[in-house]
């Protein structure tokens, strides 16, 4: 059953291996560089407990539009072959991937620079929130 909620969102953790296999099979022959960012939930310690999982929520229509705008502006600024962004909604356990950004380009300079810019813009502009859930079942909102 598809866990895709929209073009940019997927329910729960991202299956990185499956997605990267699919993307790399479709790589253009003129692509000389692929850069990938995986945002992984950290199992940070907090006193006597630690982060067990993060519950992600979003203002979905506005977040989808924000992602589309980031995709459009980065594609205009950098000469890329492919840009793919996926973010989790719902629960992602420590050690699992909640954000995947995939960039392919002819050369490494564009691939490196575009990747970093995409990640920074996502963190600044997309209405997504994370709630850290600890091993003792307590919770805390991130970014507060």
């Amino acid at each position: 059953m598809s866990r895709e909620l929209s073009r940019f969102f997927i329910k729960d953790a991202i299956d990185v291996h499956r997605i990267l296999d699919e993307l790399n099979q479709k790589l253009e022959g003129s692509s000389g560089a692929v850069t990938i960012f995986q945002g992984v939930v950290r199992g940070d310690a907090s006193g006597d407990t630690r982060v067990r999982e993060i519950d992600y929520s979003a203002y979905l229509p506005m977040a989808t539009e924000s992602f589309a705008q980031i995709e459009s502006s980065i594609s205009k600024e950098y000469s890329l072959h492919k840009l793919v962004v996926l973010h989790s909604i719902g629960k992602v356990e420590a050690g699992q991937c909640s954000l995947l950004v995939y960039v392919s380009a002819a050369h490494r300079a564009e691939a490196f620079d575009a990747l970093r810019e995409v990640v920074e813009q996502i963190k600044a502009k997309v209405p997504i929130w994370k709630k850290e859930i600890f091993s003792d079942d307590s919770s805390s909102w991130g970014g507060v």
């Binding site: 506005m62 539009e65 973010h87 954000l99 996502i122 929130w129 909102w141 507060v144």
Partner: protein
Amino acid sequence: MKVNILAFGALAEMIESEELETDDITDSDVLHQYLLNRYPDLANNDFQIAIDQKLVACKVVFSCNDCIEVALLPPFSGG
């Protein structure tokens, strides 16, 4: 005019609801005061307002639509 208010993240927990509805709100300043009157703890929280999915930074007069959607957005923490 009906105003549908969506709350997200920690704000939704604070006001104990993800969605409210009200009317007789004519602009974003009146809305802000209405929210502070009803939920005084909001004054201690940093948040942005989006109207029909567009962030607003200054006073916006609501046009005479049937309903507008206002979202209360705490600081983003995705990525």
